[in-house]
């Protein structure tokens, strides 16, 4: 965790032109969707950085904006029938290139080659009418002018690398002929076929059985070591990020509420929502607790996000800061430790006290 201070300081004071940028540098990203019911603010001012060779775990519940963020980085929101409607602002820098304002065709050429993505449900994410091999070959040949035969060789090689037995034979199988775990392996092969420098995995193991999940996480970890790419892993499962991530970003209501090195988030969390997530989760590695500590209430509406801190209606400590601060003013991310940021109105000492005295003993 040597370069954390670098990624950390960049957050509060964005450097001017010419200042060194992280490999992936997202600044004040906003993704809004106008609908009949109102403006859905799926992502509303998100910033983070990620260097090559590191893994960022993005954690949050459904509707927190984590998947929307990943699709925004990939430039996938602007495509298709709904692409006209989406309102995006902010900056996404990938390896020195800005993507939000870039020419769509330029972004397309980066997609699949410099940045690739793995999806949650590999059965629906693969085309049912084409063989697995064909779909990998297709991904390779968009970006490489090679013969079919060479592309096939490459695809078989990747299938072999991700652990598919008899890859040359399975090349001609259709997705429905694969098991869930094999499909996700094939999906990973498809994403890695062009040696991307950024790999985004959106809930890559949620649809899989626990023993297969362990295999896939292990594979992703190995491949990252081997390819040295930056990995963003999106999940609702804190166990998964604890296994695989170097840094963690906790999202709530379209914004980052806390981010920092994995150890800080798990052992010195500074945001009541993070506490809530940790308390909600039954733990297999601890003594049996009598009751879980749930977060009360329901996730926020993204159309009418609560004013002030979006978490205030569900926060047990909303009244700790003086006055009406939590309901009127949105807390900004502030550095609370080395590379560790949190957006909460409570004073850091107060938070540390609550965590160590009230929360941690109950986990």
């Amino acid at each position: 965790m040597t370069n954390l201070s670098k990624t950390g300081t960049a957050l509060e004071t964005p450097p001017g032109d010419g200042a060194p940028r992280a490999f992936l540098d997202v600044r004040d990203l906003k993704v809004h969707f106008p609908t009949d019911d109102g403006l859905v603010k799926s992502v509303d001012g998100l910033s983070f950085q990620l260097e090559k060779g590191r893994t960022l775990g993005v954690v949050g519940e459904s509707g927190s904006g984590k998947s929307v963020t990943s699709l925004a980085v990939m430039g996938l929101h602007r495509l298709g029938a709904r692409g006209k409607n989406v309102r995006m602002s902010g900056e996404i820098w990938l390896d020195g290139k800005e993507l939000v304002g870039a020419d769509p065709d330029e972004v397309r050429r980066l997609r699949g080659r410099e940045m690739a993505m793995i999806f949650q449900d590999p059965l629906s994410a693969m085309h049912p009418y084409y063989t697995v091999g064909h779909q990998i070959v297709e991904a390779y040949r968009v970006h490489h002018k090679v013969t079919r035969k060479a592309a096939r060789t490459r695809a078989v090689e990747l299938l072999d690398r991700v652990g598919i037995p008899e890859p040359a034979k399975r090349f001609d199988s259709y997705p429905h002929e694969f098991s869930g775990g094999m499909r996700q392996r094939a999906m990973i092969a498809m994403a890695l076929v062009n040696n991307p420098e950024l790999l985004i995995a959106d809930e890559p193991t949620t649809a899989l059985d626990v023993t297969v999940q362990a295999q896939i996480l292990d594979l992703i970890r190995d491949l990252q070591k081997e390819f040295g790419s930056a990995v963003v892993i999106i999940t609702h499962d804190l166990g998964v990020v604890a296994e695989i991530a170097d840094e963690i970003l906790v999202m709530y209501g379209g914004r980052c509420v806390e981010r920092g090195p994995v150890d800080s988030i798990f052992y010195e969390p500074q945001h009541p929502y993070t506490w809530g997530l940790l308390g909600s989760m039954p733990r297999i590695d601890r003594e049996q607790t009598d009751r879980l500590i749930p977060v009360k209430g329901q996730p926020p509406s993204l159309i009418n996000v609560p004013s002030g801190c979006a978490f205030n209606p569900r926060c047990p400590y909303a009244d700790v800061p003086a006055g009406d601060l939590t309901r009127t003013e949105r807390p900004e991310l502030r550095e609370v430790g080395s590379g560790h940021f949190s957006a909460c109105h409570m004073a850091p000492d107060e938070r540390t006290r609550i965590w160590t005295e009230e929360i941690a003993p109950k986990l």
Partner: protein, 380 residues
């Protein structure tokens, strides 16, 4: 979770020692038909001979991976499906082959909660209509009227009585699951079978529902069978836990001993695969067992012990002889020839060749060779 009793039911059975539900040799095969004449060529052996009992007031957790038959088992004991073989006894009465009329009274005593809070509520009906449906179907008129009773139920599961006239789409996933629970509890059932009750919910909401189920059990003296794939959730909610693999029960034990010292290798592998939300344990995982390959098909399960194809302890006997579910320690039943944390049942047997490559130990495996972009192909 002690054994509180429902005072309303107490009169019916004083014999608390007898289990509420008893299952013997339960089998469910779904036939596969093929060819011109649609002959039966095989069967999906979803549940293939399991024995267990559910004690009054306890929570039995059933855990396993997809295809292990746990959901089918749930539908068999609630008699949404008819067993192909074996015997199911509820409160001393044989319910294995009851027909529609005979099942009617049973539906009051056994209720089911489903995974999908979206699919299991009719979008055209109000919450009031959904939760009061059991009263209508069974022709029960509670004291004070159906509406009052339903509003009481809604309050009981943490919703507001004013929700009576609203429609399912106005509710979030967690609230819908509460509605499903209210419906299941309407007729004061004695056994509630919950199939993945929280797996479609967000973590923070999951905890709300788990706590609710816990409270309801304490207050109403319910007996639960909770089916889930999530081992952490199962450990939290269960008194005893059954582990299933390919239609068989491989281990059945109380929670503490199962999690502290699993006896079946599959249980051990399963627990070792759960990602632990404790990053510091990442480095210390050389002990971790990573099973290779996938679960075999339940159409043609492996011979002998069904786990032998993926087991690192498998020997000759495992491939030929099916291990019976034996009580190897008090209250702990295991179906294994070579259990962990217990005496070997068939010592000195020659190991199977496949056992050597069955597992990888994470953290000790050397990194694989990098893939150059244009390496020569092995075969075309």
């Amino acid at each position: 979770m002690t054994e509180p009793r429902n005072p309303a039911r107490e009169a019916s059975h004083d014999d608390d020692a007898a289990p509420l539900l008893k299952v013997e040799g339960l089998v469910k095969h779904f036939p596969i038909k093929k060819g011109l004449l649609q002959r039966q060529v095989g069967a999906v052996k979803a549940v293939d001979g399991i024995d267990f009992e559910v004690r009054r007031g306890e929570t039995l957790g059933v855990v396993g991976e997809s295809g292990c038959g746990k959901s089918t088992m749930g539908r068999l004991i609630t008699r949404l499906l008819e067993p192909s073989g074996g015997r199911v006894e509820f409160d001393g009465a044989d319910i294995t082959h009851l027909k529609t009329a005979g099942l009617r009274p049973l539906r009051r005593d056994i209720q089911m909660i489903f995974q999908d809070p979206y699919g299991s509520l009719n979008p055209r009906h109000t919450i009031g209509a959904i939760v009061s449906a059991p009263f209508r179907l069974q022709g029960v008129e509670p004291e004070g009227g159906v509406k009052k009773e339903v509003q009481g139920l809604l309050e009981r599961v943490g919703l507001s009585p004013e929700h009576y006239n609203r429609y399912p789409h106005e509710f979030s996933g967690g609230q819908r699951q509460r509605i499903g629970i209210a419906r299941a509890l309407a007729l004061k059932p004695r056994l509630v079978v919950a199939d993945e009750p929280v797996s479609a919910l967000d973590v923070s909401i999951q905890a709300q529902v788990v706590n609710l189920l816990d409270d309801l059990q304490d207050d109403l003296g319910l007996t639960y069978v909770i089916i889930a794939h999530d081992l952490s959730v199962i450990r939290h909610v269960s008194d005893r836990i059954a582990v299933m693999y390919l239609g068989k029960m491989v281990e059945l034990a109380d929670r503490t001993s199962l999690y502290q010292a699993p006896m079946h290798p599959y249980t051990k592998a399963l627990m070792s695969a759960v990602p632990v939300p404790d990053p510091r344990r990442r480095g210390a995982k050389s002990e971790r067992i990573l099973l290779r390959g996938d679960v075999p098909s339940p159409i043609a399960p492996p011979s002998g012990c069904r786990f032998h194809t993926r087991c690192w302890k498998a020997t000759q006997v495992c491939a030929t002889k099916e291990p019976p579910l034996l009580e190897l320690a008090p209250g702990r039943r295991v179906a294994c020839h070579h259990p962990e944390n217990a005496a070997d049942q068939v010592p000195g047997d020659a190991p199977l060749a496949s056992a050597r490559d069955a597992v990888a130990l994470v953290g000790t495996a050397p990194p694989a060779a990098p893939v150059p972009p244009q390496a020569p192909a092995g075969e075309q």
